[in-house]
């Protein structure tokens, strides 16, 4: 499991980019500015407060499967940026980019999602102030 995570981390693209505003449970746990891109199979999409959670099985180069969990903000916060209750279902093949937690566990917060049909969803959080949200759905 750890090895798979290391592989995923090696694949990570580290960029110092400004992140969106944390709204509920803070940033202290996250490795701010780091990005990890994962391809995997959706296990579960929890559309609830205080955070939405997407769990994903990711197969590493060694064949081991690691279950990642990525969080988004609450449903009402991420609805304007396109996330819906049925955005994911078990078995979907998706690619997600997350900002991982500092402690090395397979956890992160969603910066971007690419669905199987190529649809892209942005960070599962509020846009920062002075940045209007994408057009209404």
């Amino acid at each position: 499991m750890k090895r798979a995570f290391v592989i995923a981390s090696i694949a990570a693209v580290v960029l110092a980019i400004p992140l969106r505003v944390a709204a509920h449970h803070g940033s202290a746990a996250f490795d701010t500015g780091k990005r990890v891109t994962l391809k995997g199979t959706v296990v579960m999409w929890v559309y609830s407060n205080p955070h939405c959670l997407l769990s994903l099985d990711v197969t590493g180069e060694d064949g081991q499967v690691v279950r990642w969990i990525a969080e988004g903000q609450a449903p009402n916060v991420i609805f304007p940026v396109g996330y819906r209750k049925d955005s994911f279902k078990g078995g979907d093949q998706v690619s997600i980019t997350v900002e991982p937690v500092k402690n090395g566990r397979p956890l992160g917060r969603i910066l971007q999602v690419v669905l199987a049909d190529g649809t892209k969803l942005g960070a599962a959080s509020s846009p920062p102030a002075n940045t209007p949200a994408p057009p209404s759905q």
Binding site: A23, G26, P50, V101, S126, N130, S136
Partner: protein, 296 residues
């Protein structure tokens, strides 16, 4: 002739209202918030109605502008000297006892002691500083009611001329009677002029029940909150707040000046709440592990 003029004014008013919200559509009639509104310019600016705050309002700078994750926006808790609050010794001790998930001294998830994460009411003034999104204001001849988005909370500001209670030991004094402290306190408001509404609030909960903001800054039952709502044009409201809490701070200071934009009154508002069971599930699946607790 007077009747004809009145009808024409009504028609013009209806047309104006129609223009304001004409773009917002949604399948089934359940309108979603429209955050991509064109800016207010000289070309589309309409005059403010007299003595009215009524409407559905959202942060003018986008849905994230009212989040205030880094603390009250006039003094973000970012460690910069200019944003340090004027704590009394007691206030500083209180601040240090608070373990917040946001701000300069943030702790890991599940290590906090934020009353919000036990689903306690945020109360005044913190409800003004926590994810202010779509906010509905209703008013009649006697009161103004504010319906907050988060946790479906609401408060009443009385405008019928009643006096602000006096803060006393153990609560507030109303007409010689000791009354209870309240999470949202006791609020009275008055129109300073036709477009400026000023509100005073006292009688809020003590410092072991409520925080000022999400970064753990404290507030006490001695606070007096002054809010100003200034309707600068038909579509824009400036919501300002100053707090005066001599138990915790050595002097009053401004906490926010938040521009709000009028939204379509038919907009559907999604629920945004604190649920102990959902909070527990979140901690089990994510929060505890993110804090390094439990087996890897």
């Amino acid at each position: 002739m007077k009747m004809l003029t009145g009808v024409l004014v009504a028609i013009v008013g209806l047309c104006a209202a129609g223009d304001t919200f004409a773009q917002n559509t949604s399948p089934g009639g359940w309108l979603t918030p429209q955050w991509d509104k064109p800016p207010i310019t000289a070309a589309n600016r309409k005059p403010a109605p007299r003595r009215s705050l009524a409407g559905m309002w959202g942060p003018a700078d986008g849905p994230g502008a009212g989040t205030q994750a880094q603390g009250v926006p006039a003094k973000p808790n970012n460690g910069k000297p200019e944003n340090q609050l004027p704590y009394t010794p007691y206030g500083l001790e209180l601040y240090r006892s608070h373990k917040a998930l946001e701000g300069f001294d943030a702790v890991l998830p599940s290590e906090d002691n934020d009353p919000r994460n036990r689903c306690e009411p945020l109360g005044m003034p913190r409800e003004n500083h926590y994810n202010v999104r779509l906010t509905q204001i209703f008013q009649d001849d006697y009161k103004v009611a504010i319906l907050y988005h988060y946790d479906n909370r609401w408060r009443v500001i009385w405008t019928d001329g009643r006096q602000l209670p006096k803060v006393v030991e153990g609560g507030v004094d109303i007409g010689g009677e000791l009354r209870e402290r309240r999470f949202f306190g006791y609020s009275v408001g008055r129109w300073v002029d036709d477009y400026t509404f000023e509100v005073q609030t006292v009688g809020t909960m003590p410092d072991d029940r409520v925080w000022l903001d999400s970064t753990g800054r404290p507030i006490s039952e001695q606070v007096r909150v002054t809010e100003t709502f200034r309707r600068v044009d038909y579509d824009t409201l400036i919501w300002s707040e100053t707090i005066d809490d001599p138990k915790v701070y050595t002097r009053p200071f401004e906490t926010m000046r938040l521009p709000m934009r009028l939204h379509d009154p038919r907009t559907d508002i999604m629920e945004y709440y604190c649920s102990p069971s959902e909070q527990e599930n979140y901690n089990k699946l994510f929060g505890n592990a993110a804090s390094g607790k439990g087996a890897p």
